[in-house]
């Protein structure tokens, strides 16, 4: 699904502009990574697309339909989201968490009784394996899993309804570097598998360069860079992160080794 933002302004209470006139067009199937410092507006951009925030001015259109205020349930269920803090039900099983991604497409009585259709259950198992989790974990509680495993569950849940847009808000911010690479690869892989547009925010430059088709640099709520990873040079990094030194924010400091 295509995402188009026209002059979007998002103002929080007190007049702080989290997004300050963002215009952006992401064609269907593109893997787009948003880079920026903390507070640059990465989350605000993603939350606006998902519908957690309503733009103060400007227009948000999904597949040509303007969805500024209200969006239909059918449309909402075509967006999958992966969260920084995983947002899983810790006391429920892996299977129940993955299956919950299919709730919008299920009749209420099935949800209340926890009676998932055989098709849904088969999809849960297939996704559980596709995100690289061991079969033995399927009915374990999520709270007994490691952070990386939990985020795999999060990715599987987001894919339950074969979304047309996959949004990932700092999906690897609380994971170690190796797991981060695995999860990012998984996200791109899953998005490609269902042909979904991927919109992902990270703060590690290497990850963005490695996995993005296109990088969008945000600073103080404005787009300061928009282009393919090859074009992300020192000047562009300086525009996004300020002085080049700060660009190493949260990436391993090489000098320290």
């Amino acid at each position: 699904m295509e995402i188009r933002l026209t002059d979007v302004v998002l103002e929080h209470v007190g007049g702080v502009r989290a997004l300050d006139g963002v215009s952006l067009e992401i064609p269907e199937g593109q893997a787009c990574v948003v880079l920026g410092l903390s507070g640059a507006g990465k989350s605000s951009l993603l939350r606006t697309v998902v519908g957690l925030e309503v733009p103060t001015h400007g227009q948000l259109a999904l597949n040509g339909t303007v969805v500024n205020r209200q969006r239909s349930r059918a449309l909402a269920s075509r967006i999958g989201m992966v969260h920084q803090d995983f947002a899983l039900v810790a006391r429920a099983s892996v299977a129940a968490n993955i299956a919950s991604g299919a709730l919008p497409a299920m009749p209420l009585w099935r949800a209340l009784l926890g009676r998932y259709r055989l098709n849904d259950r088969a999809r849960v198992v297939a996704l559980h394996r596709a995100v690289g989790l061991d079969d033995a974990l399927l009915h374990r509680r999520v709270s007994s899993l490691s952070g990386g495993q939990q985020q795999r569950v999060g990715v599987a849940r987001a894919c339950m309804l074969a979304p047309s847009i996959l949004i990932a808000d700092e999906p690897v911010a609380s994971l170690d570097p190796q797991t981060s690479i695995e999860i990012m690869a998984l996200l791109c892989d899953r998005a490609r598998a269902v042909g979904a547009t991927l919109l992902c925010s990270v703060h590690q430059v290497e990850l963005a360069k490695r996995f993005a088709d296109r990088i969008i640099g945000l600073r103080a709520g404005r787009i300061v860079f928009d282009g393919p990873p090859e074009q992300l040079d020192a000047d562009a990094l300086a525009a996004i992160f300020g002085s080049p030194r700060l660009s190493t924010d949260a990436t391993p400091v090489k000098a320290a080794a």
């Binding site: 519908g51 957690l52 989201m81 968490n97 991604g101 709730l103 209420l108 949800a111 209340l112």
Partner: protein, 332 residues
């Protein structure tokens, strides 16, 4: 500079704490005067001294001793005049029971002179040695059943109440406030008071009892369930709402698993509490052992009262132990 900050350190006790303490003492003095704390102390002390045999006779000690004497021996048997029973087959008496014939003095008024006269009557009694114990056991069972059904009524009512009064399941503020109001009222009315009125409406027996227990417990559970639901981790709830999941489905999948342990703990507590309340709720006529106690007490049959007291004590202690076992078994 440093000494200036050090001098302004908050001190634990100041003049206003002293003033508050004095005010509290003053209030207690006034209230103690009204309640009669002085008499409570002197009467209790007098009773203790009299019992130890060092003081003058004490009315409190005497009354307690009289009660003790009358409660013992416990009344275990039932004894009924055969003449007042429907005809019984002597060959097929109830198990353990026997017939006993004796004489008793009967008082009546002389029809001519209106003077009391006495005559000796020969009476046959049907004696069931553990008849009253069995009766008390049945009443005790009824008490437990009242507690159980009261808990079930509460469980039935609390769910809609909690769902309507929690912020994350009911977005409409007006509905939430109304539900919270209902819950507060239910919780505010003590069981004994609502039972008093329910007895007027439903008549004597277990029905007003279980309703009174159920309504109060529904208020308690409704509030605590709603509070717990509101305090549950919002992240998974938002994650589901954002993809278009209905509120009820979100509740079932993302809220219920989080709060289930507390729900079970509260419900066990309510069951435990209802057993204890069910024993007293009969005092206003709402069924169970309390109603039996009230009846025997009003007829000055203290032997029966003794049996009831001992039975109640035993059952409450046993239930307490069982509930504790259950709770540790459930890992709470």
């Amino acid at each position: 500079m440093i000494y200036g900050l050090a001098a302004n350190f908050p001190q634990p006790y100041r003049f206003r704490h002293l003033a508050l303490a004095l005010l509290a003492v003053l209030l207690l003095l006034v209230s103690g005067q009204r309640i009669g704390i002085d008499r409570a102390i002197s009467m209790t002390a007098g009773a203790v001294l009299a019992t130890l045999g060092v003081g003058p006779p004490s009315p409190v000690a005497d009354a307690l001793a009289r009660g003790r004497e009358q409660l013992w021996p416990l009344q275990l048997e039932t004894r009924e005049d055969v003449a007042r029973l429907p005809p019984i087959d002597v060959g097929a008496l109830p198990p353990l029971s026997y017939l006993e014939t004796g004489t008793q003095r009967e008082a009546m008024l002389d029809p001519k002179t209106s003077q009391p006269i006495f005559r000796i009557v020969r009476t046959t009694w049907l004696v069931e040695p553990f008849g009253y114990l069995g009766h008390v056991a049945l009443k005790m069972l009824e008490t437990l059943e009242i507690a159980l059904w009261g808990t079930l009524v509460a469980m039935l009512l609390r769910l809609p109440l909690a769902l309507l009064s929690a912020r994350n399941t009911m977005p409409a503020r007006a509905v939430r406030l109304a539900a919270r109001g209902v819950v507060a009222v239910l919780r505010a009315i003590p069981e004994l008071m609502s039972a008093l009125f329910l007895v007027m409406a439903f008549g004597f027996g277990p029905i007003p009892g279980l309703l009174a227990l159920g309504l109060h417990a529904a208020g308690f559970l409704g509030k605590f369930y709603a509070d717990d639901m509101e305090a549950s981790d919002p992240a998974p709830q938002k994650a589901l709402i954002v993809i278009g999941t209905s509120r009820l489905a979100v509740w079932r999948v993302a809220i219920l698993p989080q709060v289930m342990p507390q729900f079970i703990a509260y419900t066990l507590y309510i069951l435990d509490r209802n057993v204890r309340m069910a024993t007293v709720i009969g005092l206003v006529g709402a069924g169970g052992i309390g109603q039996e106690l009230r009846g025997r007490f009003d007829m000055y049959q203290f032997g029966h009262v003794g049996t009831i007291l001992v039975a109640t004590l035993l059952v409450v202690v046993v239930i307490d132990v069982v509930a504790n076992r259950l709770r540790s078994f459930a890992g709470l």
